[in-house]
Amino acid sequence: MGGSSPCASCKLLRRRCTKECIFAPYFPSDDPRKFAIVHKVFGASNVSKMLQELPIHQRGDAVSSLVYEANARVRDPVYGCVGAISYLQNQVTQLQMQLAVAQAEILSIQMQPEPSNNNTTLLPSQLLLDQDDNEKFLLLSTSSAENNNNYEFLPQYLSSFASSSSSSSNVFQDSEPLKRESFC
């Protein structure tokens, strides 16, 4: 006889585990806690209905996310996963503010007169005219090529920041969250 042991869900529910059992591939008998927690929060029949509505190749991910949510709800019965979302949203907002400050700072640095853009030889009269201007010393720098490359480098960051900040930081407006294969 090649009878295999019942899956964790059929053990918990005290029923016969058939080969068509919808839970068996995702709740092996060696991890009874996984099904126990999902059953506690969602209920076995609800989980079964949810899995039946999904194609087979997506059920693994669905089970993983259900286990994650159930664990979060057991750890925090009031806020569950929403507590984590709220915390992460705050982090995103703070980082966006820090980015804005950093970008403003680098823009103000950029706005300062560039010391190395002008490599041309100045006439003595020009030097004398600029004597009271602190910027005159910047004209004598010889590393203009290097600085120009850095200025080309910056707009890439600014444009990427603009595109990332346009994505919603409001959790429930995000219509297409990115997907991960495993969550546990």
């Binding site: 609800n46 259900l66 980082l95 950093a102 429930f172 995000d174 969250p177």
Partner: protein, 147 residues
């Protein structure tokens, strides 16, 4: 009275008692709210969860259960875990951008500092020269340095 039933008791087609645990959080004028949580969690599970929470926190618990249920209905595979995943990625990208820009700022500040340190020498030299790149050794001010 039957007309005073909460959304949960209407959904379950039962009498709504005066101490119904659902009625403060699932009013009759929002039937979809209870329908969502019932579909995902089941009515009895929601009732059990609310009973285990102190009354002053039950409203928030009901709100978060509704939000999670709604996320799960909108995304049956990942639910709100997909949103968490997306937020982690946003945080990671923002941290990388911030580190890059801060490195850039540090580089500029270092450059500026080096220029400022080089300036005093240049200032003295320029103030004493009448021609570009030449020093007038017969200038009394410069000459006095070496006296």
């Amino acid at each position: 009275m039957i007309s005073g039933r909460c959304a949960a008791c209407k959904n379950q087609r039962r009498k709504c008692p005066s101490d119904c645990i659902f009625s403060p959080y699932f009013p009759a004028n929002d039937p979809q709210r209870f329908a969502c949580v019932h579909k995902i969690y089941g009515g009895s599970n929601v009732g059990k969860m609310l009973q285990e929470i102190p009354p002053y926190l039950r409203q928030e618990a009901a709100d978060t259960l509704y939000l999670e249920a709604k996320c799960r209905i909108d995304d049956p595979i990942y639910g709100c875990v997909g949103i968490i995943s997306s937020l982690y990625e946003q945080i990671q990208n923002a941290e990388i951008e911030l580190a890059k820009i801060q490195t850039q700022i540090a580089f500029y500040k270092l450059q500026t500092q080096q220029q400022v340190e080089a300036e005093p020498n240049m200032e003295v030299l320029l103030s004493q020269s009448s021609n570009m790149g030449q020093f007038e050794w017969d200038n009394p001010t410069i000459a006095s340095w070496f006296n």
